[in-house]
Amino acid sequence: MNDTKILEEEQAAYSFSKRSEFYALEPLGVYTPLIESMTSYICRLAFAHNITVKTFIRDIIRPNMKLLENEVGRVSALKINVGGEYSKKLAKVLYTLTGRIEIFRAPVLVAEC
């Protein structure tokens, strides 16, 4: 006759895990030799969010990598893309920001693994 349901609501409403802070852009050319470089990925990420690359690096990358103020400006694209500790650290930061595991497949990192 009557399908009225009365429930007592708990406070905790939603139970899915936290969302990634930035959009999960897919790196271009994953699983091919022409995989996108990390610098290119950073530029595209900033572009997709309508912020300047400068803002992105200064306000997001630097605090996340725990770098000093003048440390970022001195890094060349080569250092970012060529592998080594810096690249790995940066890839980890980008992974936590976007949740894209493919970022670790940037060419130099693959070669090292």
Partner: protein, 371 residues
């Protein structure tokens, strides 16, 4: 002693406040909504219209839970997508709807980073000449950088639906021309982002839609009605809701309450939300007076004043009238389309004049020529 008594009072009240009623009307609207969102037939704007206090906000909450349950696996797989975007529109204090504020609020709801640092990339041929206009600059009512960010956010975050509660605030604009622009902006937002929009609001929204043919076609309205006691099924269901709520009250209810169902209906006009608020007020009064049961006197003391109820009734009868398919209106449309010419003729012939009344035509005056 007094302190603990007070605490239990608050606890009891809060417990009752948390009670949610999933009643038949809500189920009906919910199933309509689900089918519209799950199987979209286009980039639509869906509107849920209902009187104040009928349970629209509760409906949204339930609907959100439903979306999350359906998307749970997908959400865990891809951490960048969000199940929905939901905001409550703020009534603009200047009396003019502020799109810039709207964009900021939507972006905040989507947990977008660096909102105040958004720029717009104008695509000039030389990358050095990029025109960067930041959010702080430009017109105070709108901001292309924010709009572009919003479109991007919808594109990448892939929400299933964009829910706007209290959507009647959209119509707060200074002139009639702006009135149309408002909905056009919404429509293009929905077109670009391909995310269906769910506008939830009072009957005021209804007039907003039928201004423009293109919009009337794109929008889909769902009526969330109150319980109308002239309908037998509604009457039974409403009594069921009242009984159900009485059972959830932490104190006993005097049996005379249900006998006065007409009073309960009169002061709630068949809206479940109003009923629950009223019972909460009455419960507080009864608990504060240390009564063991809820009596009619508590209800009478906390009922909505009749002036307010009368205003509510006026508003909802006006709103409900919009949903009735009037036979005169149907005929008018058919005549305009050239479908029912016979009816027109018949209607024309049926108008007979009273005996002894002449046709309205001009009589000759003067008569100089004849002489």
């Amino acid at each position: 002693m007094l302190y603990t008594g007070k605490q239990t009072l608050e606890e009891k009240l809060n417990k009752f406040k948390r009670v949610k009623i999933i009643h038949p009307k809500m189920n009906q609207v919910m199933s309509e909504l689900k089918s519209l969102i799950e199987k979209p037939s286009g980039n639509e704007i869906i509107m849920v219209l209902g009187p104040s206090g009928v349970g629209k906000s509760t409906l949204i909450e339930e609907f959100k839970k439903e979306i999350i349950n359906n998307l749970f696996d997908e959400l865990e797989k891809d951490r960048s997508i969000i199940p929905f975007v939901s905001i409550e529109l703020i009534s603009p204090d200047s009396g003019v709807f502020n799109w810039k504020d709207f964009y900021v609020r939507v972006l905040r709801a989507m947990e977008e980073p660096l909102i105040e640092k958004k720029v717009i990339y104008e695509n000039n041929s030389e990358p050095k000449k990029r025109d960067k206009i930041s959010v702080g600059q430009g017109h105070y009512l709108t901001s292309p950088a924010l709009r572009r960010s919003l479109e991007n956010a919808f594109y990448y975050r892939k929400p299933k639906v964009f829910i706007v509660d209290e959507a009647q605030h959209f119509i707060k604009v200074p002139s009639a021309r702006k009135y149309l622009d408002q909905l056009d902006s919404l429509k293009s937002l929905s077109n670009l982002t391909k995310v269906p929009q769910l506008l939830v609001g009072t009957y005021e929204l209804k007039n907003f839609v039928n201004l423009n043919g293109q919009l009337a076609r794109r929008t889909f309205e769902i009526h969330f009605p109150r319980y109308d006691i002239s309908n037998e099924q509604d009457f039974i269901n409403y009594l069921g809701v009242i009984k159900g709520l009485f059972e959830y009250l932490p104190i006993e209810t005097s049996p005379s309450l249900l006998e006065n169902w007409d009073y309960l209906y009169e002061r709630t006009v068949g809206c479940v939300g109003i009923l629950k608020d009223w019972l909460t007020r009455a419960l507080r009064l009864a608990l504060e007076n240390n009564e063991k049961s809820l009596k009619m006197q508590h209800l009478r003391n906390t009922a909505l004043p009749i002036n307010k109820v009368s205003k509510l009734v006026d508003e909802l009868s006006q709103g409900e009238a919009c949903f009735i398919e009037n036979s005169d209106r149907i005929l008018e449309v058919r005549i305009k389309l050239g479908l029912d010419n016979e009816n027109v003729n018949q209607k024309g012939n049926s108008k007979k004049k009273n005996v002894g009344i002449r046709n309205p035509k001009r009589d000759k005056v003067g008569g100089m020529k004849n002489e």
